[in-house]
Symmetry: C2
Subunit: 355 residues, 2 copies
C-alpha cells in the first residue's frame, strides 16, 4: 500500500467502531451527484461510465461535495454496475431512464457468457486507480469510502436489464432456478470480495455494500439469497485483509427496504447498518443496540425540500430518535435526489454538526 | 337498496368479523386481470377505462376469475384512478407504461380546477351500476368487494402524473405545501366517503381502501397525511351507512410498505389489515392480535412462479406463520402479475382451501 497523508478527521471511523466522537459524523449517499451544478458541468462533457473509468474525472467529482460542504467522508464516484460490466455485460446509462443492459440474462445458460473473478478484477483497475488518486488528493481531510452492489441487487439488474417496479423477472429466477441463482450470486460474491479488498489496498478506508433491492424480498428469500452472500463478503474481506497484513476497515451494509431483516443484519458481522427513511430510528436502536452495531441514516431524502427551519427541526427529531450520539453516522435514508437545492445539503450537514 | 339473491358463501365476511370459519377464505388482488386469457380477449376490443365505465363489461370481467377458480370473494373491476377522473382530471392507460395524467397537478392553484364532491359523485354512477349488475349476476355465490384508493395514494398519482420510483414531486408537496396537501387530501377523503357509501348502497358487501404508496412515507408523514384521512373514511362510512339504516360492511385497509404503521392501523377502526409480502405474518400477529383485527395476505406474488409442490409448501409455511385460522383472509401480498400462469392461481387457491 502507498504511503498516504495522515488522516485529520477520523470521526466516521470512530463512530463505526463504536468509539466516542466529538460530534456526529455525516455524509450523504450520492453526495457527488446531479444536484450539484459542478457535477452537471462535468457530465455535459463526459458520458457517465467514462467518468467512472477515468480516475482523474472520478476523483474530481468525488471531491466536489467535500469542497462545498463540511462532510466527514468522501465516497468514491463510481457505480454498482461496474461489476456486471467487468463480468462482460454491456451497461448503458440512458438519460432520463437510468441504466440499461441491451442483453440482460434470460436463460440460465447465459451465465456461461459471464467472465470469472480472474478476468473481472483487472477490468476494475480504473476504480482502484481512482481511489488511490482521490485518497492522495483528499490529503487526509476525511476518510474515503469504497463500495459495491450486493450480489442480489446486481443479479436483479443483470436479469431485469434496467429498472423494474416488481423485479418479477429476477425473482422468478429465485423461485424457478434456485441453483443457477446461487451460482450467479456466488460468482458476484467472489468478485465482490476481491473487488472490496482491492479497494482497501488502493486506499479505501471504509466500505459500503448496497443491497438496494432488499425491498422486493422477504425474510424467507433474503435468508436464502442475500444473507449468506452478505456475510461471506464481510468475513472474507476482513480475513483477506488480515492475511495481507492490512487492518480491516469498517464495513457497512445498507439493505434498502429490509425492515424485516434488521435484527439479523445487526449480528451479521458488519460494523454499520444503513437504515432507509421508512424505519423508525428508535425502533432500530431497540432492535440493534444489544449487538453494539453502529447505525447509519436515515432522514427522508424529501425532507431536504422543506424550508430551512423545518429541515433543521427534522434533523433534531431524527437525532432524538437515535437517542445517543455514539454508534450513529448521520445520512439520508436514500441517495440525495437530483433536483435538490445544494443549499438544503448545507442546512442538513450543518444541522447535524450543531446537534 | 335492491333485493339481491341470498348469499351462499359468507366465509370472508365471517373472517373479517372475527367469527369462526370452516376454511380460510381466499381471494387475490387483481384476480380479474391480464394473466387471464379471457381478460386479454376483452381488453383487445376495449380500452381499459371503457371497460371500467361499461357496467356490462366490468361485470363480465369481475366474474371471470369467479368462474375459473374456487374463490371466496369477487372484487368489482375498476381502478383507483376513476376518482381523480371524476374530479375532472384526464387519465389515460398507456400499454406497457401504465396510467398517465397529461395534465398533472403542478401548482397549489391547480387544485381550483378540481371538481367538488357533488360534481364528482354523479360521474361515478357507472361504478355503482356495475356493482349492482355484478351483485345480481353473482347470484349469491360469493360476496362482492368494492374499493377505492386512499387519499395520499390518489394525491401522489395526481401530482406525479404517472408511475414514479420516488414520488419525490408528490412528497415535495407534503414538505413545502402542507396546507394545500391537506386540502387535497380532505377533498379526496370526502369523495371517498360518499363513493364507498354509494358502493355499499349499490351492492358491495365489503370495502377495501388501497394505500398503495405507503412505502414511500414513514411514521411521521403517515401520521400527518394518511392516518387522519384513513380513519375518517372508515368512521364516516360506517356512520353514514348506519344513518341510512344499512348495516356497515367490513372494511379493509391495505397500506403497501407500511410495515412501520402496522400496530397503529390495527387500532384504526378497520376490520381487516392487508399485509404486503415483506411482512412476517408471525410478527404481524404479535403486533395486531391484541386488537382482534383480521389480517389479509400475504404470499409473495412471485411465489406463484414456483413449481406446484413448492407453491403448496409456501402456502403451508404462510399458514403456519399466521398461526390460527381465525382472523385471516388469505391473499397475495400484492396484485397478481400479468405474466402468471392461471394454473398457479388454481394451485394457490386450492392449497389455501386444503389447509
Amino acid at each position: 500500500m502507498e504511503d498516504f497523508p495522515p488522516l485529520k478527521n477520523d470521526r466516521i471511523l470512530r463512530a463505526a467502531r463504536g468509539e466516542s466522537v466529538d460530534r456526529v459524523p455525516v455524509w450523504v449517499m450520492r453526495q457527488a451527484g446531479r444536484y450539484l451544478p459542478e457535477f452537471r458541468k462535468v457530465r455535459e462533457q463526459h458520458d457517465f461510465f467514462t467518468i467512472c473509468q477515468t480516475p482523474k474525472l472520478a476523483c474530481e467529482i468525488t471531491l466536489q461535495p467535500i469542497e462545498r460542504f463540511d462532510l466527514d467522508a468522501a465516497i468514491i464516484f463510481s457505480d454498482i454496475l461496474v461489476v456486471p460490466q467487468a463480468l462482460g455485460m454491456e451497461v448503458l446509462m440512458q438519460p432520463g431512464v437510468g441504466p440499461v443492459f441491451p442483453k440482460p440474462l434470460i436463460e440460465a445458460s447465459d451465465l456461461e457468457c459471464l467472465g470469472d473473478v480472474e478476468a473481472a478484477l483487472p477490468k476494475l483497475k480504473y476504480v482502484f486507480e481512482a481511489i488511490t488518486l482521490t485518497r492522495k488528493e483528499l490529503n487526509g481531510k476525511v476518510p474515503l469510502i469504497g463500495f459495491t452492489g450486493a450480489p442480489w441487487t446486481l443479479m436483479s439488474y443483470m436479469i431485469e436489464g434496467g429498472g423494474s417496479k416488481t423485479l418479477s423477472k429476477a425473482k422468478k429466477w429465485l423461485y424457478t432456478r434456485p441453483e443457477a441463482s446461487i451460482k450467479l450470486l456466488q460468482l458476484l460474491t467472489d468478485v465482490n470480495v476481491d473487488y472490496l479488498v482491492g479497494q482497501v489496498k488502493a486506499g479505501a478506508q471504509m466500505l459500503q455494500v448496497f443491497e438496494s433491492h432488499a425491498e422486493h424480498l422477504n425474510m424467507d428469500l433474503f435468508s436464502k439469497f442475500c444473507l449468506p452472500f452478505l456475510t461471506q463478503i464481510c468475513s472474507r474481506v476482513k480475513t483477506k485483509l488480515k492475511e495481507c497484513g492490512i487492518e480491516p476497515v469498517p464495513m457497512t451494509v445498507f439493505a434498502k427496504g429490509g425492515h424485516y431483516v434488521l435484527k439479523t443484519l445487526s449480528n451479521s458481522g458488519y460494523d454499520v447498518i444503513g437504515l432507509d427513511w421508512t424505519m423508525d430510528p428508535a425502533v432500530a436502536r431497540e432492535v440493534c443496540d444489544q449487538s453494539g452495531v453502529c447505525l447509519q441514516g436515515n432522514l427522508d431524502p424529501c425532507a431536504l425540500y422543506a424550508p430551512k427551519e423545518e429541515l433543521e427541526a427534522k434533523v433534531q427529531e431524527m437525532a432524538a430518535k437515535f437517542g445517543h450520539k455514539t454508534n450513529w453516522i448521520a445520512n439520508l435514508g436514500h441517495g440525495i435526489y437530483p433536483d435538490m437545492d445544494p443549499e438544503s445539503m448545507t442546512t442538513f450537514v450543518n444541522a447535524v454538526h450543531n446537534l
